[in-house]
C-alpha cells in the first residue's frame, strides 16, 4: 500500500519524533545471558568447517564447497587498501554458535529469552503491522520464519537458508555463490566456509508482492562472528521488497559480521533491498552484497549504515541484460571513533543499461566517512547512462571525509557523470532557520534531515523514523540535535 509522500508532513513528524523520543543507545546494546546449546569454540580450521557441515547435515557438495572456500580464505591476505582491520582477532573469534535447537514458524514456540530480545527490538510488532513475512536470526541460526498464507499459496518461498537447503536443495544449488563466488574476496571466502543462516527468498514468475519481507539479524555473543548468506531470486516479471535489520550488544572484544547477499533480478523483474545496519561499536561489518540484473530488470539498493566500528560495504549491481537498471541510495553515519568505508559498484555489461548512485554521509566528532565506488561501462554497453552523486556533511572540526570513486568507461556512446561535495552545516542556513524561531538544535537537525531527504523518502516510513532516531542518538551526545 503506497502512502502519498509529503515532505513537509514528514519533516514535521520527524522533528516531533526527535523532540519526544527518549530512546537510548542501550535499547539496542543490551545482551542476553543465554548459553548457546552448541558452539565450535574459538578459531577456524578444516575440522571446524567439517563440524559445522556435519551439525547441519548438509549434502556432500556443500561440505566440499565449504572446504574449498576455507582454502581460498586462508590463501588470501587481509585487504590493506582500506581501513585498518588489525582489530579483527581471527584466532579467538567463535565462528559458529547455535542459540537453541528450535527453528519454528510459530512465534510462541521461540524460546522466551530470544523472544524477549526480538520483542524489545520491536520485530513481531513490525511483522503484524506491515510485513508480508519475516525471518529472525539469533547468532548463527534462524530461530523463526513466517510468511503470510496469501503469498505462500502463490508459490513464494521465504525461510532461512539452512532450511531451504534441506527442503529445496536443487533450487538453492542453482543460485548459491553464483554472483559472489568465494574467490571474490577474503570475507566472501570466509562466509563460504562458515556460513550459517541467512534468508532464502524466491518469488515466482509474475508474482508482485506489495508488502515488504523482513529478516532481522541479532548477534548476542561476545567475540562471535555472524556469517549469514542471503539469496533473493525475483523470477521473470515479479516484484519484491526485502528488508534487513541488524543489531548487536556492545562488548570490549570485537565481533565480526561477514555476510553475503546475492540478489538475482530476472527479466522484467523488480527487486528492492533495504537494510538498516545498527551494529554496536565493537563489530567489524564486512558484508559482500551483489545483484545480477537481467534484461529490463530493476534493482534498487537502499541502505542505512549507522552502527559498527568499521564497515566496508559496496553493494554491486551487474547489469547483464539490455535496459537493466540499478538505483543505489545509501546513508552512512560515521560516529565518534568509527570508520564507514562505503560506496557502490555498478557494472554495465549490456546495451541501454542505466544506473544511479546517491551516497550521503555524515561524520561526527572524529568519525571518518569514506566513499569508495566503481563505475564501469564495458565495451558494447552502448547508450548506457550513469550518474554518481556523493555528498558528505562534516559536523565537527575533527570530522573527516574521503571520496575515492573509480570510473572506467570503455564505450564511447555511454554517458557518465559524477559529482561529490563535502561541507559542513552553513552558518547562513543556521542563521536563516534561527531567525524563523527555531532553536540552534532544531535548526541543525532540520538541516541534517534535509541533507538526507533523498534517501529518507525512499525508505518505508517506519524505517525512516527508526533511522532518524538512530541518527539523533549519535548526534544527541554532542548536543547537536534534540
Amino acid at each position: 500500500m503506497e502512502t502519498e509522500y509529503s515532505k513537509e508532513e514528514e519533516m514535521e513528524k520527524l522533528l516531533e519524533d526527535l523532540k519526544k523520543s527518549n530512546v537510548r543507545k542501550e535499547d539496542w546494546e543490551f545482551h542476553d545471558n543465554l548459553q548457546p546449546v552448541y558452539s565450535t569454540g574459538a578459531g577456524l580450521n578444516r575440522k571446524i568447517v567439517e563440524e559445522i557441515s556435519e551439525i547441519k547435515k548438509e549434502p556432500e557438495w556443500m561440505r566440499r564447497f565449504r572446504l574449498k572456500a576455507l582454502e581460498i580464505f586462508q590463501s588470501k591476505p587481509v585487504p590493506t587498501w582500506g581501513p585498518d582491520l588489525s582489530g579483527i582477532d581471527w584466532e579467538n573469534t567463535k565462528y559458529y554458535t547455535r542459540p537453541d535447537e528450535v527453528t519454528t514458524n510459530n512465534w510462541d514456540e521461540v524460546p522466551d529469552q530470544i523472544k524477549d530480545t526480538f520483542q524489545k527490538l520491536g520485530v513481531p510488532e513490525m511483522e503484524q503491522k506491515y510485513l508480508a513475512g519475516s525471518v529472525a536470526q539469533y547468532d548463527s541460526e534462524g530461530v523463526y520464519h513466517n510468511l503470510r498464507k496469501v503469498w505462500e499459496d502463490k508459490g513464494v518461498l521465504f525461510m532461512d537458508l539452512d532450511l531451504a537447503l534441506k527442503t529445496y536443495p536443487d533450487l538453492v544449488k542453482d543460485y548459491f555463490c553464483k554472483a559472489v563466488p568465494p574467490t571474490d574476496n577474503k570475507f566472501a571466502a570466509l562466509n563460504g566456509a562458515v556460513w550459517s543462516g541467512g534468508s532464502f527468498l524466491y518469488v515466482p514468475k509474475g508474482v508482485k508482492i506489495d508488502m515488504p519481507l523482513q529478516t532481522y539479524f541479532r548477534m548476542n555473543g561476545e567475540q562471535t562472528g555472524q556469517f549469514e548468506h542471503t539469496i533473493v531470486v525475483a523470477d521473470e516479471g515479479s516484484s519484491v521488497h526485502y528488508i534487513e535489520g541488524c543489531t548487536a550488544p556492545r562488548y570490549e572484544k570485537n565481533s565480526l559480521h561477514s555476510a553475503i547477499v546475492e540478489i538475482y533480478v530476472n527479466k522484467n523483474a523488480h527487486a528492492r533491498y533495504t537494510s538498516v545496519q545498527n551494529w554496536s561499536k565493537s563489530v567489524y561489518n564486512m558484508p559482500t552484497k551483489r545483484a545480477w540484473v537481467e534484461e529490463n530488470g530493476q534493482m534498487e539498493w537502499v541502505g542505512g549504515s549507522l552502527g559498527s566500528k568499521v564497515t566496508m560495504l559496496y553493494p554491486s549491481s551487474y547489469l547483464r541484460g539490455p535496459h537493466a537498471s540499478a538505483h543505489n541510495l545509501n546513508v552512512s553515519l560515521a560516529g565518534p571513533g568509527t570508520i564507514k568505508d562505503t560506496g557502490a559498484k555498478a557494472l554495465h555489461l549490456a546495451p541501454y543499461t542505466s544506473s544511479r548512485i546517491v551516497a550521503k554521509s555524515i561524520s561526527i566528532e572524529d568519525g571518518k566517512a569514506i566513499y569508495r565506488g566503481l563505475l564501469r561501462m564495458n565495451k558494447g554497453a552502448v547508450h548506457s547512462k550513469s550518474h554518481v552523486q556523493c555528498d558528505a556533511l562534516l559536523i565537527n572540526d575533527e570530522s573527516q571525509s574521503f571520496t575515492f570513486p573509480h570510473d572506467e568507461i570503455y564505450e564511447p556512446t555511454a554517458t557518465f557523470g559524477h559529482e561529490a561535495t563535502v561541507g559542513r552545516i552553513g552558518t547562513d542556513e543556521l542563521t536563516y532557520l534561527r531567525s524563523r524561531g527555531l532553536s540552534e538544535d532544531e535548526a541543525s537537525s532540520m538541516i541534517v534531515l534535509g541533507f538526507l531527504d533523498d534517501v529518507m523518502k525512499e525508505i518505508p516510513m517506519e524505517f525512516a523514523v527508526e533511522m532518524n532516531r538512530l541518527i539523533k542518538l549519535e548526534m544527541n551526545k554532542l548536543g547537536a540535535v534534540g
Binding site: W81, S363, L374, K379, A392, L394, I395, N396, D397, E398, S399, Q400, S401, F402, T403, F404, P405, H406, D407, E408, I409, Y410, E411, P412, T413, A414, T415, F416, G417, H418, E419, A420, T421, V422, G423, R424
Partner: protein, 415 residues
Amino acid sequence: MENYPELLRSRLNDPAYEYRRDSFLEFLKAPVRTYKESPTVKDYVEVADSELERMIYAEPVNGSFDPQPDDTAQIVMSNDVLTRSSIPEKSGMVITDMATAIREHRALVEEYVYTNLGRDRTEHVVNAAWRNGLFIYIPDRTDISLRVHQISDSRESYSKKSVIICGKDSSVKITDIHTSQGNGNGIHGQNIYCHVGENSTMQYSYLQDKESTATDLTYIREFMDKYARFRLFHVNHGSSRVIFTDESVQMGESSDFRVYGVNFSSGTQKMDIRDSSFQVGTASSSDIQVRGVVTGKSSTIHRGNIDLEEVARNSTGFYDSRILLLSKDGYANSKPGLMIKNANTRSKHASSISDVDEDQVFYLRSRGIGEAQAKRMITAGFVESLIERGGDPEMISKVNEYAEGLGVDAFLGTD
C-alpha cells in the same frame, strides 16, 4: 638499477650528491604504483624499472642532433643543455642551468632545491638522476614574461630537474614548450618545481608535443607562500606514453591555485594525468579543471585529489574532469578524490565522460555542416573555452590546431 649507488659514489664531487642519495633512498622505499582497485587494469601507463634504468644512466646515442628551436623563444634548452638565454637584464634575476646554479648560487640552491625530495616514486628517481635543467630566479617586485622552448632528442633517455623561484610581490608569466626531434623510444623524465613567494603571481603555460615514439614523465610541483597565486595551463598532445603529475603544496594562508588542463590522446597513446592540491594554509583555495579528448585506440585517465589538511580552515577545493570519448576503440577513466580532514571547508569534485552531445551535432547539421566537422567544432569549443581563460595566445592557437586537426576517423560518424 642496483648499480646506481656505485654511480653516485663516482659523483662524490657532485655538490648535489647528498640530495641525490636521499632521493634514491626515497625511491627504493616508495611502493610501485598500481591501480589495484580495478580488477583488469594493472596501471594505466606502465613504465618498467628497466626503462627507468635507461633514463637514470642516460647513455648517449649515436648520430647527430640538430635541434630547430622556435625563433621567438628567449630561452632554449637542447636536451639538457642551455643553448640560448636572451633575457633583458634585470637586477638580481638569474637564468641559468642547474649545473651552474649549484656552483654559483649555493644559497638559493640550498634553500629551494635540496629541501624537496618529492612524493612519487618516479619523481624521486628523477631527483636522484637528473643530468641538468633550468634554473630561474625572479627577485622581489619584478614583472616579467619568459618564453622557453625545450627540445629533446627522442632517441635519447635522460632526466632533467628545473627550478623556478619567484620572490615576493612579483608577477611572472612563463610559456614553456616541450617538443622533440628524431625517431626513437627515449624516456624523458623531468621535475619542474615552482616556488611562488608571498603575494606573487605566477602563470605557467606548459605544452608538451613530442614525437609519438617518446615517453614523457613530468612532475610539476608548486610551492606557494601566503597570498600567492598560481595559474597553470597545461596541454599534453605528443609522446606515446605520458605521465603528467601536477600538485600544489599550499603552505601559505590565502594562497590561490588554479589549473586549466587539456589533453589530446590519439593513435595508441596512453595518458595518465594527475592534478592535485595539497592545502595546509588557512583560507587557501584550489580550482582544477581538466578536459580530455580521446580518439583512435588511445586511453586517458584523469586523476585528482583535493587534500585539505586539518589546519586548512576556511579553505575550498574544486576538481572538475571532463573527457570526450570520441572513438569506439579508445577508453577513458577518471579517478577524482576528496581527502577532507577539516570540517570548516568546502570542496567538490565532478567528472563526466561521454561522446559529443547529439543535440549540439544535430543543431550544427541543420545549419548545413557535415557531421565530422560539427563534432570537430564542438570539440574545439570544449577545449578552447578552458585555455582561453588567460592562456598564452600561442597555446590557444595550438589547441585550436589540434582540435581542428582531428581526422574524420577520429569520430564515429563521417561527413
